[in-house]
């Protein structure tokens, strides 16, 4: 398979993830979109790892995954805490830190 396919696929996935972050007001969906972006990056890592026959790319994916897991855990906990305080999870309602 040509490398470029993977790269284009990854780019598309990443772009869709960005769109999700920018356009969705549900923080859960935003988190999912973030995961999408992580996945896009991971795909490139794995692809290049195979391309160059070097394992380091795979290992980076491993680290990204654990970090993403940590991020999701904290992020979701935050959501729960915020929901308790504000009784909504609309991102646009969380704008108290404005100048």
């Amino acid at each position: 398979m040509p490398m470029s396919y993977y790269l284009i696929l990854s780019a598309a996935m990443f772009a869709i993830g960005v769109l999700g972050v920018i356009l969705r007001r549900n923080p859960l969906v935003v988190f999912m979109s973030l995961e999408l972006m992580f996945n896009a990056a991971n795909l490139v890592f794995v692809a290049f790892s195979a391309y160059h026959q070097i394992l380091d790319g795979d290992l980076f994916v491993f680290f990204v995954m654990t970090t993403a897991a940590a991020e999701v855990a904290v992020g979701l906990a935050l959501m729960v805490a915020i929901f308790r305080a504000k009784h909504t999870i609309d991102l646009d309602e969380m704008s108290m830190l404005k100048g």
Binding site: V21, I22, K98
Partner: protein, 661 residues
């Protein structure tokens, strides 16, 4: 007496009074009034002793000499030392200062004993003598200085003492603050004069390369030949200092107010010694003044104008000390005229005799005031009901409250009479000879000045007669005057001594012997032998007698009936007398022309300019930052998606750069 052996004593004219200050500060509280007075008087007396020894030394060595005490300042090519100059001129001044000073110290023991109790703060007795000794020390520095800078030290030092002593009863006077304000006025007006003197000193240094008298005066002719304008500037700036210290037009205004000080102060500082410092300075600097005729003319005319102007004001005053104050200004005008004409010996002669008779007059006035205060307290203590309403308002210095004191205070009357006649210029009292010498010189070279001075002499005799009549003749116009008693011996003895001096002081430069002239010609520049002109002498005597007679006719023949009766001259002279009474409104003029504009300017600078413009600019910068931040903070709208979009924008821009690179 060998001059070389006495010369090292010279600094002691300063050290003794300083020692007196230190002793009184350390032990005065324990010693009590007697001890304080003795220490202070002894300090002044020892100073006089040193001066006398120096004078004896000078008899065999009239050129004098300089005693180097300490290097004071040395920066680059500028040096100034604590050098004491001992020559006939400075020693004459020392003798006058310490001599009259000692007498006044002794007099003050009695006067202040009563005064501090009258004013209600006996603890201030010591302070008075500390200040008085300080004055003697400063005055000695002034007259014994060998360079202009040291002279300036004394010059401002005596100004300080004047300030302190005018404001001695700083919580008294009209509104409780008038004395303090008078003191401030004296200091500030003197500072204006000192400004002139400072500029003169700078000019001297840069054109002569030194401030030492010897060096400067020796070069004066050469410098004058090359740079006459510089010498003119020096002399005129110096004149500004002289008008400040010696109370000449236009800076005389502080001296009448200075009468707020205790009477011995008025006698010592504001009549006999300090105010003559200006005359001394011009006499000392004759070498500069005689280079430029214009400078001399200016000095002369300032003096003459002051002599006449102050004499007119003296006519309209009711305060016994104010009359004497204006008389002092007027007499200082005579002296300044003299030194301005180059008749420095005559000026110095008048300075000395004036010190005698004016100190006498002031101390006599003090004795009168003491008597009145005593009478007033006596009357108040014995429950006189008629005066109850005026109790606080009673002014023991107002001549309208006096009258008939001749009988109550005979000794004071007689000595006062001697002083007054000497002031009026009645032969053979001292004032006649010294004033005549000035008039004679003026008649020879400056007829216009002569006329002015003669007019002033007439007025002098006139107000002397007025004062004598109002104070001592007629019948008492207040209960205080009726109850007045003669002062104690500690007050009267110095009066008698001064009366003798005032009577015979003319011998100093008696027309045939000219002792003073021969004595001073060793240290004064360009002394010309004084001439005795009989016609001038007779005219001046006649004028004086006429003045006394006219004064007697108006005030003495028909004395004032009571304290509220207007002055006999008030009606015939009408507006003119009002002007005299109000001192030609000069104070008001200065207030309007100088003081108030400056205050307004200061207020303008303090409020709109400093707080408004300058600080406003500073705070404006701060506010600008705040406003900018205020508008930029909208960017931080709090929407996380917005921030994400911005991040994306950043990413796009970065990649754009990477693509297009």
């Amino acid at each position: 007496m060998n001059f070389e052996t006495v010369l090292p004593l010279a600094p002691w004219v300063v050290f003794f009074p300083v020692l007196g200050i230190i002793l009184n500060l350390l032990f005065g509280k324990r010693l009590g009034e007697k001890g304080i007075g003795v220490i202070a008087s002894l300090a002044a007396g020892l100073s006089f002793g040193v001066a006398a020894l120096l004078a004896l030394g000078l008899t065999g060595h009239p050129e004098g000499g300089t005693y180097h005490l300490l290097r004071w300042l040395a920066i680059g090519d500028f040096t100034a030392d604590w050098n004491f100059r001992v020559d006939t001129l400075s020693v004459t001044m020392m003798l006058v200062v310490a001599g009259v000073g000692t007498l006044i110290h002794i007099y003050s023991i009695g006067y202040m004993h009563a005064d501090v109790r009258h004013e209600g703060d006996p603890a201030r007795f010591r302070r008075f003598f500390v200040f008085l000794n300080l004055f003697v020390a400063a005055m000695m520095i002034l007259v014994s200085a060998d360079n202009f800078l040291m002279l300036f030290v004394g010059w401002e030092g005596v100004g300080l003492c004047s300030y302190l002593l005018i404001g001695f009863w700083f919580e008294k006077g009209a509104g409780g603050i008038a004395n303090a304000q008078a003191a401030k006025k004296a200091f500030v007006v003197n500072r204006i004069g000192d400004f002139g003197l400072l500029i003169a000193i700078f000019l001297i240094f840069y054109n002569f390369g030194s401030l030492d008298f010897e060096t400067v005066f020796a070069q004066a002719p050469q410098v004058a030949a090359v740079l006459p304008g510089v010498i003119l500037a020096i002399t005129l700036f110096m004149l500004l200092g002289v008008t400040g210290k010696s109370a000449q037009l236009p800076l005389y205004v502080w001296l009448p107010d200075a009468m707020a000080g205790p009477t011995p102060v008025s006698a010592l500082i504001h009549a006999a010694t300090m105010v003559t410092a200006g005359v001394y300075l011009v006499a000392r600097s004759q070498a500069l003044y005689q280079q430029i005729a214009l400078a001399q003319d200016v000095v002369m005319w300032v003096g003459a104008a002051t002599a006449l102007f102050a004499a007119t004001i003296a006519l309209g005053q009711y305060d016994i000390k104010k009359v004497l104050a204006y008389s002092t200004i007027s007499q200082l005008g005579f002296m300044v005229t003299a030194v301005g004409m180059g008749a420095a010996v005559a000026g110095m002669f008048h300075l000395v005799t004036h010190a005698f008779f004016k100190a006498l007059l002031f101390l006599g006035a003090g004795s009168v005031i003491l008597g009145l205060e005593h009478g007033h307290e006596h009357a108040a203590a014995h429950g006189s009901h008629t005066e109850e309403g005026h109790h606080a308002a009673f002014d023991p210095q107002d001549m309208r409250n006096m009258g008939g004191l001749r009988g109550k205070m005979p000794l004071t009357f007689w000595v006062y009479l001697i002083g007054a006649l000497a002031l009026a210029g009645i032969a053979p009292l001292s004032g006649f000879f010294s004033k005549d010498e000035i008039l004679a010189d003026a008649s020879l070279h400056h007829p216009a000045v002569y006329v002015v001075l003669t007019a002033a002499a007439f007025l002098t005799a006139f107000y002397v007669a007025r004062q004598l009549a109002m104070v001592f003749f007629g019948k008492p116009r207040s209960e205080a005057a009726a109850g007045a008693v003669e002062s104690p011996p500690v007050v009267t003895v110095p009066l008698v001594i001064l009366a003798v001096l005032a009577a015979v002081g003319g011998l100093l430069n008696f027309p045939t012997t000219h002792w003073l002239e021969k004595w001073l010609e060793h240290s004064l520049y360009g002394v010309q032998p004084a001439k005795f002109i009989l016609s001038v002498a007779l005219i001046s005597l006649a004028v004086a007698l006429a003045g006394l007679l006219v004064g007697w006719l108006i005030y003495g023949r028909k004395p004032l009936a009571d304290a509220r009766q207007p002055d006999p001259l008030a009606r015939p002279l009408n507006g003119l007398f009002l002007a005299l009474e109000n001192k030609w409104w000069v104070d008001e003029l200065y207030q309007a022309l100088v003081v108030r504009p400056y205050l307004r300017l200061a207020q303008f600078l303090a409020q709109p300019v400093d707080q408004g413009v300058i600080d406003g600019l500073v705070n404006g910068v701060g506010n600008l930052m705040r406003a900018t931040a205020q508008s930029w903070r909208r960017i931080q709208n709090g929407y996380v998606r917005s921030y994400a979009l911005t991040i994306l924008l950043g990413v796009v821009l970065v990649i754009t750069y990477l693509v297009l690179r």
